[in-house]
């Protein structure tokens, strides 16, 4: 798998994480935790965790693909694990 493809997937995943996190924040701010709303929040939490796990794994793949000497520039482009809000 090429580094470019991994980077594209990471960028896409960061958008996903940001979107879920924004909706989660909105849901937590607005809802008063009726049963349905709490389930939605819990689902968003689970989605966010899953999305971060994928991002984390993509980050690992990127590191595996990146030549060792290139990993010393800056902070390796930063971790995507905590990308987005939340």
């Amino acid at each position: 798998m090429s580094l470019d493809r991994i980077n594209d997937a990471i960028a896409s995943q960061q958008r996903t994480i940001a979107s879920i996190a924004a909706n989660l924040e909105r849901a937590q701010s607005n809802c008063s935790f009726g049963t349905t709303d709490f389930q939605a929040v819990a689902r968003l939490n689970a989605d966010l965790t899953s999305a971060r796990l994928v991002a984390h794994r993509l980050d690992q793949l990127r590191r595996e693909q990146t030549p060792r000497d290139a990993q010393t520039d800056g902070v390796n482009r930063g971790s995507v694990f905590y990308g987005g809000q939340g």
Partner: protein, 209 residues
């Protein structure tokens, strides 16, 4: 993994991956490999579990810039997000049957500071003096709402007092449990909730954590 489990997993994967909008099949393939749902070298679109999941979700396929993209059907994400973000119906102060006396109603209310100190969650209208909910109050309310979700037995302890629903928890119980696991309170609660949710999650995701 059974076929049914695989397609359920793929459905969850697709729903999450397409949450923010259209994604190219190439990106989906890379993400699916990262998620451990697709062997490297296998074509995303050829995987039966993803085709089944796509049918289940009503995925829309389209081509732009000579690459194929998938997206959720119109309104699906918006509806889900709106449902999650919409203010919930206020919990009623009117007496209701025990069947409707669920923990979420109780959890949905702002807690009084003295109730919070005692580990109680009160229904709307229970805030003394109608003072605005502080950020700390909100954190307590959210934390305790999550606590209820991981502690079904607590439902038995719901009390009805003066037309409001209240749950009594031992003071410091949540904090003590978190401390026991060497976690912060939010980490403890989130882990607990997620642990329950992940019982039905794919082995790949659990392994990836």
């Amino acid at each position: 993994m059974t076929t049914d489990t695989a397609s359920t997993t793929s459905t969850d994967f697709l729903r999450t991956a397409l949450y923010a909008g259209p994604v190219s099949v190439q990106d989906l393939q890379t993400k699916a490999i990262a998620a451990g749902l697709l062997p490297e070298g296998r074509e995303f679109g050829q995987q039966k579990s993803f085709r089944t999941a796509a049918e289940r979700l009503g995925i829309v396929r389209f081509q732009t810039d000579r690459s194929w993209h998938w997206r959720l059907p119109d309104g699906q994400v918006t509806d889900a997000a709106s449902a999650a973000a919409a203010p919930a119906s206020p919990a009623s102060d009117e007496p209701e049957s025990p069947a409707h006396e669920d923990h979420a109603n109780a959890a949905g209310a702002a807690a009084q500071s003295e109730d919070a100190a005692a580990g109680a969650i009160a229904a709307p209208g229970a805030v003394a003096g109608d003072r605005p909910e502080t950020e700390h109050d909100r954190d307590l309310r959210l934390i305790r709402a999550m606590c209820l979700s991981i502690c079904p037995s607590a439902r038995k302890e719901f009390l009805r007092e003066q037309g409001r629903i209240t749950l009594k928890l031992p003071a410091g119980a949540i904090e003590a449990a978190a401390l026991r696991d060497h976690l912060t309170v939010p980490e403890f609660l989130q882990n607990s909730v997620l642990a329950r949710l992940h019982q039905s999650q794919p082995a790949e995701l659990k392994a990836a954590s």
